[in-house]
Amino acid sequence: MRPNKRWFVVLSFVAILLVLTTLWLIPIYLMVKISVSDPQDILVQNPDFFSTHFTSRHWVGVLAAGNIWPPLRKSLTVAVVTALFSLFLSVPGAYGLSRIPGSVAHVFLIGIFLTRMFPEVGVALPISVTFIRGGLFDTDMGLILAHMVRVLPISAWVLVATFKAIPQDLEEAAFVDGATKVRSLIHIVLPLAKPGIGVALIFSFLGSWDEFIYATYLCLANKTLPLMVYYYVSRGGWFLSSTYATVVTIPVVIVTYSLQRYIRSGYLRGAIKG
């Protein structure tokens, strides 16, 4: 390819990508914009794309009124505990799956995959009924267990691919040295599996943080943040709902950013083949 033609191609790729990514970013720009804009810039016919009058009073109002802290606490607790608990089950499970004969593991994996076909709304009904009877209604624990139902298959799926990528020779060397299976898992496999565990942790946290259906059934007085956003959206208050929506988005940005070195597309690669 002649050099000038190549430049033209590269430039057009960059142009296409820039246009699309800019379009994709508009919604989140609007969300943050509304939360810091004066009503005179928003609540008018045909508001401008860029605000000129800014205010912190929606934020001050939301943070000072104090309604936001209990849901924030609840959502954070539930998401963190869900992510940790599900690792507790999915790490040994996925490790086991990666160390049994491939054809048997395949059956288990398909069994896990099949559960993804069931709509959560359908499964949520029996689970919620059982939890309500079991006294788990409106408790953190009830929601954590329900969220694990949602998160566990995804976490297991990511981890099986991770463990499969770790050569078994390393472990066999440890067995020769007299290590048990549990010891080799903790001292040899887990350190190597850190990136995959990081991805599983992110997915589990986000899966719980974002969750809506179980929260609707299992929460009454102690609502989660997504339920609060919904509450304000359904009441039609743009400033409150955009502020809440921004709050609910911030931890996602922090978690993703702090663990981003783990989300290289390479880690999804195994998941596709697996």
Partner: protein, 293 residues
């Protein structure tokens, strides 16, 4: 002997996870499937076996057919553009230009942000007087649309929003799939004088076949299961115009308290997804056996 013992120990690791899955996933699934053959609603507060009655009643119900039509429409209209664009953008991003991370994140962030926040954003974007879409249409001199509030556009509005939310996810999967394509093939083709289009048409498209199959199945399952945005943005309305199967399950179970019918709908959806998956793998699975490892 020793090997057998080792693999038997490996099974022990599975027990806690499987126990949890059985208790909280498989058991509810079995129960829900059993319930789909029972009458269980406000008039009959205990489940009573009724055979196929729920299925027959749904068959005769107009709303059921509208909901099925909406669901299939939603899936067919949204997955093919999503898959195609996701592949195109994955190829563009894979060219390793400057700003790669920026492109990935701008496309992928909608997948990460909570649906409640995303729904709030789009309710604003679609709002008839304040929303930028109608302002944009007005600037072009076109008539304003009702978007979420009109039965003509509500389903489209949800499809567009879902497209925005899912594109990055599938782009990332394709990007991962592209890493499996042997780079040497491109170099060989380049040396043989193949241009950019030619290289991707003859190498990339065939070799991302397995990834596409995976994406197609995941996209079908994901799109048939859309619920959150519908619950948050339109509640299936106006007049059931944006009601899809999972929202209809929710409506029956938690608004009309007809748990038998909700379970029947769940079973129907699972049967649809199972048969589509089997058909897809049956048709394409055997043909796409080569990977570029």
């Amino acid at each position: 002997m020793r090997e057998k013992l080792e693999s038997y120990r490996a099974y022990l690791f599975l027990i806690p996870g499987l126990f949890f899955l059985f208790l909280f996933t498989y058991l509810p699934i079995i129960w829900s499937t059993w319930l789909s053959f029972n009458e269980w609603n406000l008039l009959s507060p205990k489940p009573v076996f009724s055979g196929l009655e729920n299925f027959v009643k749904l068959w005769q119900h107009d709303v059921f057919w509208l909901v099925m039509k909406n669901s299939f429409f939603f899936v067919t209209v949204s997955i093919f553009p999503t898959m195609f664009l996701a592949l195109v953008f994955a190829i563009l991003i894979d060219e390793r230009m400057k700003g790669r991370v920026y492109y990935i994140y701008s496309l992928f962030y909608p997948t990460l942000i909570p649906m409640a926040a995303a729904a709030m954003l789009w309710v604003y974007i679609y709002s008839p007087n304040l929303g930028i879409l109608n302002i944009f249409l007005a600037k072009l001199g076109l008539p304003k649309l009702g978007w979420l509030g009109s039965s003509q556009t509500s389903l489209w509005a949800l499809i567009i929003m879902t497209f925005w939310k899912n594109l990055g996810f599938f782009t990332l999967i394709y990007l991962a799939g592209l890493q499996n394509v042997n780079r040497e093939l491109y170099e060989a083709a380049y040396i043989d004088g193949a241009g950019w289009w030619r290289r991707h048409f003859s190498i990339t498209f065939p070799l991302v076949g397995p990834t596409s199959l995976f994406v197609l199945v995941v996209a079908i399952i994901l799109t048939f299961r859309v619920f959150d945005q519908i619950h948050l943005m339109t509640e299936g309305g106006p007049g059931n115009s944006s009601n899809v199967i999972v929202y209809y399950i929710f409506e029956n179970g938690f608004k009309f308290f007809d748990w038998g019918r909700a379970s029947t709908l769940t079973t129907i959806l699972v049967l649809i997804l199972l048969s589509l998956t089997l058909i897809i793998f049956g048709i394409f699975g055997k043909r796409i056996t080569y990977t570029a490892d």
